[in-house]
C-alpha cells in the first residue's frame, strides 16, 4: 500500500459528502466556464484584430461621414500599404430581430486587406463583377438557409429604400475567432443608388480601412492621418483595429466587469464549501493524525494526506465540470446563435478558459487544505490522543 491509496480511501470515506462536494465544484467550474466564455465572446473582435490595420473615422462619431477624397491623401502617407473604404449600412432583413452587421465595402481593396474572410476564387470574381452582389458569413448563411445565387432584400433605415442583393459568396473565417456573421456588399452600389435619391450623400464614407507595413508604423501613420485633416470640415480619429474594437467592448464595460466579478465569486463560494468539508474532515480525524504521528509519520506526510485528499476532490469536481462544459457551452452557443449570433459571433470554450477553470479548481483544492493541514500538523500528539476520549 502506498500513501496515495490512503489518500483515495480517505477521500471516499464519506462517499456522499465527497461526491456532493465534487459535484458542487463541477457546477462551479461549469458556471465559471460559461461566464468566461461570455467574456471571451465580447472580446473576440478585439482578439481577432490585426496589428497592422488602422480604422479612420469622423472624430465626432461613427454616424458622421468623411469625404471619399481623403482616401487618396491617406494612401500617399509613407508606410501605408493599402486603403479601403467602408460604410455601416444598418437596415432590416425581413424582421428587425434578424440582426447582423452589414457593410458597404470596396471589394477590390477590402478583400486583400482582410485575408481572414476566405472566399473561393470564383466567389471573389463574382463578387467583384456584379454591382448588387454580396458576400455573407457562413454562420448567417446557415442560419437563414442562404445559398449562392439567392436574392435577399434589406429594408434601409440609414439609407431608406428597398435594397436587393444577390449572394455571390459565402465566406469562412481563416481563424477560430473570425466573425462569420457579417454581410459585405459593394459600396459602389450604395453610392450609385444615393446618386439617384439623395445626391448630397454621395461620395461619403463611414470609415477608411488602412493597412500599414509594420506594427512599428502604426503610431506615426495614425498621427499623420489625423494631423492631415485637422481643422477640416471632417476631422478624423484614427485608431488601431484593436482600439476600435475595444471602443465597442467598453460600451458594455460594466456588464463585462460584473460578469468577471461573478465568475470569481462562484469560485470563492465553492472554495468555502470545500474548505468546510476539509475542516470537518480534519476535525474528525484529529485522533488518527495523532496516531500516525505516534507511528513516526511526519508533518510532511500529514500535509500530503490532507492536500492529496483535497486535491483529489477538487480535481474530480474540476474534471467533471470541464467535461460537462464542452457540450453545455456548445449547446448554449447554438441557443444564443438563434437570436444573438451577431452579438456573440464566436461562442466557444477557449483553451485559456479551460486552463483558467482547471487552475481555479486546483487552487481551490490547495487553499481549502491549508487550515486543516496547519491544524493537523500543529496539534501535539498527547493532545490528539486525548481527543479520542
Amino acid at each position: 500500500m502506498k500513501i496515495f491509496k490512503l489518500v483515495i480511501k480517505n477521500a471516499l470515506r464519506h462517499k456522499l459528502r465527497s461526491i456532493l462536494t465534487a459535484l458542487g465544484i463541477a457546477i462551479a467550474v461549469l458556471a465559471f466556464g460559461i461566464l468566461r466564455t461570455v467574456i471571451d465572446a465580447w472580446y473576440i473582435g478585439v482578439e481577432a484584430s490585426s496589428q497592422t490595420r488602422l480604422i479612420t473615422r469622423n472624430e465626432v462619431s461613427l454616424g458622421f461621414p468623411m469625404p471619399l477624397a481623403y482616401r487618396e491623401k491617406i494612401a500617399q502617407i509613407p508606410g501605408v500599404t493599402g486603403v479601403s473604404i467602408g460604410q455601416w449600412f444598418g437596415g432590416t432583413y425581413v424582421d428587425p430581430k434578424n440582426f447582423f452587421a452589414r457593410f458597404a465595402v470596396e471589394p477590390e481593396s477590402f478583400l486583400p486587406l482582410y485575408p481572414e474572410y476566405v472566399l473561393t476564387e470564383k466567389e471573389r470574381e463574382d463578387f467583384l463583377k456584379e454591382r448588387n452582389s454580396c458576400v455573407v458569413g457562413a454562420k448567417i448563411a446557415t442560419k437563414y438557409g442562404w445559398k449562392l445565387g439567392d436574392n435577399i432584400r434589406l429594408i434601409g433605415d440609414i439609407f431608406p429604400g428597398d435594397w436587393d442583393f444577390v449572394i455571390r459568396g459565402i465566406y469562412h473565417g481563416a481563424a477560430r475567432t473570425t466573425d462569420e456573421t457579417q454581410m459585405f456588399f459593394q459600396w459602389e452600389y450604395l453610392n450609385e443608388q444615393l446618386g439617384q435619391t439623395t445626391r448630397g450623400r454621395m461620395d461619403q464614407v463611414g470609415f477608411f480601412y488602412v493597412g500599414v507595413a509594420s506594427a512599428d508604423d502604426v503610431t506615426r501613420v495614425s498621427e499623420t492621418i489625423d494631423a492631415m485633416f485637422d481643422n477640416s470640415m471632417a476631422e478624423t480619429k484614427t485608431e488601431t483595429e484593436k482600439e476600435f474594437q475595444m471602443s465597442f467592448v467598453s460600451m458594455v464595460g460594466t456588464i463585462i466587469t460584473t460578469v468577471k466579478v461573478i465568475s470569481v465569486v462562484v469560485i470563492a463560494i465553492i472554495l468555502l464549501v470545500l474548505a468546510n468539508t476539509m475542516a470537518m474532515t480534519a476535525r474528525e480525524r484529529v485522533a488518527e493524525y495523532a496516531v500516525l504521528k505516534t507511528l513516526g509519520f511526519r508533518p510532511s506526510h500529514l500535509t500530503g494526506l490532507i492536500f492529496g485528499e483535497s486535491m483529489f476532490i477538487s480535481i474530480l469536481g474540476g474534471a467533471i465540470g470541464l467535461l460537462l462544459s464542452v457540450p453545455i457551452i456548445k449547446g448554449f452557443g447554438e441557443f444564443l446563435s438563434v437570436d444573438l449570433g451577431s452579438f456573440f459571433p464566436v461562442f466557444e470554450l477557449s483553451r485559456s478558459t479551460v486552463l483558467l477553470a482547471a487552475a481555479a479548481a486546483l487552487s481551490v483544492g490547495v487553499i481549502a487544505a491549508v487550515f486543516p493541514t496547519l491544524k493537523a500538523t500543529r496539534i501535539k500528539i498527547a493532545d490528539g490522543l486525548r481527543y479520542i476520549g
Partner: protein
C-alpha cells in the same frame, strides 16, 4: 542487565488557564531490558503522561529520559519521529486502527516509513499477523473484527517494525474478560518468547499480574518497587 528505559529527575506539569498543574514530580525510573513493567495508579496520577514521556510523544519540563540508549530530550521533532518509528511499538486502549484500511494495511502502515520493498513488507506484515493469530483475517477491515481481534491487529502493528520497546496504554480497558485474557497472554508471549520489553499502563489488577514488576504512581510520585517475579 542494561536498562531499556532510564528516567532521572523528571518533572512535568500542564497549564490550564493561568494555573500550572504538576503531573509528575521528580520521577526516576529504570526499566531493565526484557522487563514487563505495569504502571498502576488512580486516574490523574500521571501514568499516561509518564508512558508518553517514555514513548517519546511528549517532553518533560526537566530531567532526562533515556530510552534504548538515546537521550530523547536531545532529539529534534523530526529525529524523534524517526526514533519512534524504529524503537517503539504502541498499543492503545481503543486500538486506534485506520477504519478505511484492512487489517493488513493497518499493520503495514509503520513499514511505509521504511525502505523495505513491497514483498519484504508483505512478509513482515504476514509474520506479525500470524504471531497475533490473525493470518486469516488480513483482508478484513476493522469494523469486521471484534474488539479483541482489533486489539490484536494493533499489537501486530506495534511489533511489525521489531521495536526495542512496546508501550501499552490500558490495552485491555475496552475488552471483555475473555478478550482481555487473550491480549494479556499475547503480551506475555511477546515478552517471554520474543524478548520484547513492555511498559503497560493499567487499572486492571489481573492485567498487572502478568507483569514482572508493578509500579504504583500516585499524585505524580512513584511508590516503592513491587517485584512480583
Amino acid at each position: 542487565m542494561a536498562n531499556v528505559v532510564d528516567i532521572r529527575g523528571v518533572n512535568k506539569s500542564y497549564t490550564r488557564g493561568n494555573q500550572k498543574i504538576p503531573v509528575l514530580n521528580n520521577i526516576s525510573l529504570a526499566v531493565p531490558d526484557g522487563e514487563f513493567l505495569a504502571l498502576m495508579g488512580p486516574s490523574g496520577s500521571g501514568k499516561t503522561t509518564l508512558l508518553n514521556l517514555i514513548a517519546g510523544i511528549d517532553r518533560p519540563d526537566s530531567g532526562s529520559v533515556s530510552v534504548a540508549n538515546t537521550e530523547l530530550s536531545k532529539l529534534s521533532e523530526s529525529a524523534l519521529a524517526n526514533w519512534r518509528s524504529q524503537h517503539v511499538g504502541f498499543i492503545f486502549q481503543f486500538y486506534n486502527l485506520m477504519p478505511v484500511l484492512t487489517a493488513f494495511e493497518n499493520v503495514e502502515l509503520p513499514l511505509l516509513l521504511t525502505k523495505l520493498s513491497k514483498s519484504k513488507r508483505h512478509e513482515h506484515v504476514k509474520s506479525a499477523l500470524d504471531i497475533v493469530g490473525l493470518g486469516d483475517r488480513m483482508k478484513h477491515s476493522p469494523n469486521q473484527l471484534s474488539g479483541g481481534q482489533q486489539q490484536r491487529v494493533a499489537i501486530a502493528r506495534a511489533i511489525v517494525t521489531d521495536p526495542t520497546l512496546i508501550v501499552a496504554d490500558e490495552p485491555t480497558g475496552d475488552l471483555d474478560k475473555d478478550s482481555a485474557g487473550e491480549i494479556l497472554t499475547l503480551l506475555e508471549r511477546l515478552n517471554k518468547e520474543f524478548k520484547k520489553s513492555i511498559v503497560m499502563v493499567t487499572h486492571d489488577p489481573r492485567a498487572a499480574e502478568k507483569a514482572h514488576t508493578i509500579r504504583h504512581l500516585d499524585k505524580g510520585e512513584l511508590e516503592n518497587v513491587n517485584h512480583k517475579k
